[in-house]
Symmetry: C2
Subunit: 154 residues, 2 copies
């Protein structure tokens, strides 16, 4: 007499689960590092985009970052309160706004970038050069195929 054993996959059978484990750990480590400078991970990404695309509209930034306009609005409020960005009215469209870095904000970006470099090195430095290259390639493949082009991929 056979028992039909329903095969129930383990959590760790799923690549998505493994990735969430690693990703959350890396993000939390990074969050601790940037917290020392007084910003969050989302704020760092916001500032980094403005570093290249200064004078961007909130809606455009939302598209670029894969966030809603409401979320961008709240983030902008916080960064404004911290004196890291400026919010001004568009000259051409009286509904629209323009977001830009303050001098303080702009000066902070290289420091934050360095922390991001460090964090990446600490975590992924554990891998061989080949493994690391493979991982980057695979992640970029997934991002492309799934059109997760939150921030233009170079």
């Amino acid at each position: 007499m056979d028992h039909f054993m329903p095969s129930v996959s383990n959590l760790t059978d799923h690549t998505g689960y493994l990735m969430r484990l690693v990703s959350n750990a890396v993000s939390q480590d990074f969050a601790c590092k940037v917290a020392a400078i007084g910003v969050t991970v989302a704020e760092w990404a916001f500032l980094r985009v403005l570093f290249d695309t200064d004078g961007i509209a909130p809606t455009a930034l939302a598209d670029k970052m894969g966030m809603t306009r409401g979320a961008i609005s709240k983030l902008a409020d916080r960064l404004l309160a911290k004196g890291l960005i400026r919010r001004s009215d568009s000259q051409t469209d009286r509904r629209a706004q323009v977001l830009a870095l303050t001098t303080q904000g702009r000066n902070m970006v290289p420091d934050l970038a360095r922390l991001a470099d460090e964090n990446d090195a600490e975590t992924f430095g554990l891998l061989t050069t080949a493994e690391r290259a493979a991982l980057d390639q695979i992640l970029k493949t997934l991002i492309e195929r799934r059109s997760l082009t939150t921030t233009a991929l170079d």
Copy 2:
């Protein structure tokens, strides 16, 4: 006259950033799928652990899942309200409790596991077999080296 150009790394130069992008997208997709059954991603993991380790204490579960006792307590409240788990007092230690699946909860796990399988296939099926194997291996390496043994890795 040289300008010293401070090199500021891009967001996409960081493996951690790429991974967060992919991981968040995968998790959100999965969250939508399991929401149809009425649970969250964290609740799925909770139920899946109980499926193998029925009758576990909250503190032990917190250790196993890499969460605080407070977080486990809130999760347990929700799962209790949904009728998916049972909470009883330990026989041996009157401070301690025992968490176990209800019949309804146990019956739900294979369905959830199937959704997790599907979600994984949809996302990582885009990769070649070799790429997928490499990704799993690399993630497991990172989890081991960083001791992210939230749930025992097989």
